[in-house]
């Protein structure tokens, strides 16, 4: 598989969304997408669709927003990020590796025997993974508990939970939503990767979520809605959140399942399957750097 470079520097730590910051993040996101496809292709299994839809959000979090120290993954005041949609593990692992939590070379061990990179994230195996995930629906209530612990201890870290949309069909998500609302956890941010596609088909056909923003508002949440592939919008939403008080905030990020790989986009078939060699080449061409495209 092609190895990602670790050469792109951490961008935007000054919190200014200059054109260069956005361009650098977009470049990083393409690199993560290529890595995701390579990881799934390399082992012949995994979940590319939901990884690619979440990539721009993960890039914005790990390379701009989150206060983290890769040399000290257990730093007490780090921001906490919980990937509730654990099947997006390839995108999480790629982000963590490029952020410096473990060597990027290790990404090729994904889903193999003796690997620290399990099929779904395992907090006891992978540096930087805050919580084990894979069974859907858990992250929000767990994030609420983390946010509550921060408040009890007077700590300033923020907790972020990235969920899929299909996942919102699970009742326990709304238990967590009520808990976060009751305890007014404005240090908790939920992000919904709203790609509209789940394993068996379209979310709207299987169990519709609309009106999704109204649902969250009715549960006592601030709601921001963005294009989850527009990095400027993602960064602005993440910047907006700390200014919203007394309630938790959900960012509903409208995304495209399989984003960036032409034949995967909006296809439930690409929820969990690996590309053929020809499809792999096509994906790499789709995800190539713009300069290369022009050349």
């Amino acid at each position: 598989m092609s190895q990602p470079s670790a050469s792109v520097p951490l961008v935007g730590s000054d919190r200014h969304h200059t054109e260069q910051v956005i361009l650098d993040l977009e470049k990083r996101a393409r690199e993560i997408r290529r890595t995701v496809v390579s990881m799934v292709y390399g082992v012949g299994s995994g979940h590319p669709g939901g990884s690619l839809s979440a990539t721009d959000i993960l890039t914005s979090l790990f390379f701009h927003q989150l206060r983290l120290d890769p040399t000290n993954p257990c730093w007490e005041d780090r921001d906490r990020f919980i990937l509730s949609k654990g099947h997006a593990a390839p995108a999480l692992y790629a982000s963590l590796a490029m952020r410096g939590f473990f060597p990027v070379e290790e990404l090729s061990t994904f889903r193999r025997l003796d690997s620290r990179l399990q099929g779904h994230p395992d907090r006891n195996k992978t540096p930087g993974v805050e919580m084990t995930a894979g069974a859907l629906g858990h992250g929000l209530a767990i994030g609420a508990g983390l946010a509550l612990s921060a408040r009890l201890d007077g700590r300033s870290f923020r907790s972020y939970v990235l969920m899929g949309d299909g996942e919102l069909q699970a009742g326990v998500v709304w238990e967590g939503a009520m808990m976060a609302s009751k305890y007014r956890l404005d240090n908790l941010t939920a992000i919904v990767d709203f790609n509209g596609v789940q394993l068996d088909g379209m979310v709207a056909d299987i169990m519709p979520l609309d009106p999704l923003a109204d649902k969250w508002r009715a549960f006592g949440w601030h709601v921001l809605e963005i294009d989850g592939h527009n990095l400027r919008q993602v960064l602005e939403a993440l910047d907006e959140v700390p200014k919203l008080h007394a309630k938790p905030t959900v960012i509903i990020a409208h995304t495209i399942k399989g984003k960036g790989v032409s034949y995967m986009e909006n296809k439930s078939a690409w929820h969990g399957r690996a590309p053929t060699p020809e499809q792999y080449d096509q994906a790499m061409a789709d995800l190539a750097e713009p300069e290369a495209n022009r050349g």
Binding site: G134, A141, I142, L152, V172, G176, M178, K182
Partner: protein, 315 residues
Amino acid sequence: MAELQSVRVAYGQALAEYGAVNDRVVVLDADVSASTQSHLFGSKFPSRFFNVGIAEPGMVDMAVGLALGGKIPFVNTFAFLLAFRAAEQIRTCVAYSRVDVKLAAHYAGLSDSFDGPTHQSISDVAAMRGLPDLAVVIPADATEARLAVKAVAEYPGPVYLRLNRNEVPVLFDESHPFQIGKGVTLRDGGDVTLICTGMMVSRTLEAAEALRGMGIDARVLELHTIKPLDSELVIQAARETSCVVTTEEHSVIGGLGSAVAETLAEEFPVPVVRVGIRDRFAETGPYFDLLDRYGMAVADVVSAAKRAIGMKKEC
């Protein structure tokens, strides 16, 4: 008959007392704090008490988050709701994730007797015992419930603490040794070993006394920890008495009886007779009457002991 004391009140008081010496302890309940007695902690430490309503899976997940943030959460609700409604949370986010959540499972066995089989819990140990990395602890009386609070809080890992609703005979005083994973020999004897847990400890001691009158010397082991099982003590008893009876307020499938039988089948096969509920749901009624009706009378233990002795190899 021995003095009766409420197991749940002992637990609630001990939790409130321990909360004063360990400020990492937080307590969650799902709208049954007046039943579980977790309200005693709640009124003493309101900022560390979270009543989340009738939302058991969410409660376990929120406790996981609190534990990740450095707290020692005690989650409280009825045993059947924890072990079954929140089973996947416990499997994935507590046991597999090895997050240190303490699961206080109340009204276990038939002890919520008048509410009937919807509220009784006769299969929870089977479900919880099958999960790797989760300890299962069952106090026998109010004293052990009190001692268990500190032991469970300070145990390095998640624990399923199975608690009785009712006033049951007091067997032990505060000097009673209580260490998670360590069985206790309550009575010596060479003819048969009666291995008991929870409420059945008192009835098993009565049975041992009755057997004595029949010229049978029964050893009595209390295993308040079903997992990790004190297999050394069990194997030693099998070796020295050549037959074993298990007694528990639970289905004979998957609980203490299964744990003992599995261990002995592999390590030192001897006859094992299980006393418990014979794979059926019970009904509404007075607690002690239900125990008698569903196979957990003192007489049931006595006849199980005789049967086990009769099954010993003649050599």
